[in-house]
Amino acid sequence: MKAVSATAASLTLNIDGQDLSCRAGETILEVARENGIAIPTLCWLEGLSLWGGCRLCLVEIAGSPKLHAACATVCTEGLHVTTNSPRLTHYRRMIVEMLLSERNHVCSVCVSNGHCELQSLAQKLGVDHVSLPYRFPKLTVDNSHDLFRMDHNRCILCTRCVRVCAEVEGAHTKDVKGRGILAAIIQDLDQPWGDSKTCTNCGKCVNICPTGALTHRGTAVGEMVKKQEFLPYLTLMRGCGK
């Protein structure tokens, strides 16, 4: 248990039976993480603006019949929070099942197999099958960029890529078009990525993506292109005169 500071800016609350203190303005998720209490997330990332879209961080608050997104709920004095219960596990599994059924996440043939947050979350939550019928939508792969690839089959619309591009790189190349199941990540005015005038090729979007939706090119079978421009200069590079 943390000592409660007497300053006006500090609050006390209880998470999973632990009495904790926090600074005013902190969210339930921030306080939980500071105290080693694991709450699953997919869209939330420290340092990016709040999205609150994935709903995996839903928690129970005593006295409220609703579930609350821990990432988007600012702590108030005396809050009593439960981060794990059969009800929450039920909804979190359902969310993962909906994500898996909405697009084509074929883990066995994904370049991110074994390095995917959605895949490991499914395992952690005990999702061993999807009880909803799979939609099997026909989606595109944008292969137009020299360095990167966007596979819409594997996108969960967490918008981490949109936010890191706009808020950290300052390019705002990416955004979201459409609504509901028709929503999709776009570049500029819905142009092929390779035609984008604003993309700086920084690759932050690729490395922040939780799934195999955004990947480096050259990672699929037969794609490795050797960079051999230096071969004619080997002699010079060795410092030999002739």
């Binding site: 074929v106 883990c107 066995s108 061993d128 099958h129 999807v130 799979y134 099997f136």
Partner: protein, 188 residues
């Protein structure tokens, strides 16, 4: 005639999959001998009987349901098995066989049997034609087994490891429901 009590009956079935899950089963190696002592394998690609028998205790299904024959087999298996296990990602999610589901059946046939057919020799009529005789009708979609019949246990993985399969079999034979989440996952 033997007076020893009958062994539990085990069946394994190969629907629309690559047989990798059965290869993983064979990866039990010497444990196959222990298994052979514990169960009677009454139906499997590895044994001879052609008709799925009555009164099976445990049936492991590899593969998605892709054809009318698969669908018929799945229903027969359900009616004749006490426990049905979806073994591997094709049975659990439709996996790679399900990747044809983004296309209409006609598009698939056109691509597989017409566009990709060998070019006809000079003066010869085009030989490409759709197979119709002796092949079961393809379902409009390849589906996970549990979209066709109730399934008692799901073992994801492409393929599930021999360790996961061993845990499943030994636990089921001991009368318990195995917890496989730590040993396997989608795409494993």
């Amino acid at each position: 005639m033997s007076t020893t009590p009958a062994k539990p009956k085990l069946a394994t079935v190969w629907l629309d999959g690559c047989s990798g899950c059965h290869m993983s089963l064979l990866d039990l190696d010497e444990r196959l001998l222990i298994l052979a002592e514990k169960v009677e394998v009454v139906y499997s690609p590895a044994v001879d009987p052609k008709e799925f028998p009555e009164g099976v205790d445990i049936t492991l299904i590899e593969g998605a349901v892709s054809s009318e024959e698969d669908r018929h087999k799945a229903q027969l298996i359900r009616a004749r098995s006490r426990l049905v296990v979806s073994l591997g990602d094709c049975a659990v999610t439709a996996n790679v066989p399900g990747m044809r589901n983004y296309f209409e059946k006609d598009e698939l046939f056109q691509r597989a049997y017409v566009e990709n057919a060998d070019a006809p020799a000079a003066g010869e009529a085009r030989r490409a034609r759709l197979p119709v005789l002796g092949v079961p009708a393809l379902c409009p979609r390849a589906t996970p087994v549990h979209e066709v019949i109730p399934v008692d246990l799901f073992v994801p993985g492409c393929p599930p490891s021999a360790e996961a399969i061993w845990l499943v079999l030994t636990e089921l034979l001991a009368g318990r429901m195995p917890q496989v989440a730590e040993l396997t996952r989608f795409g494993a």
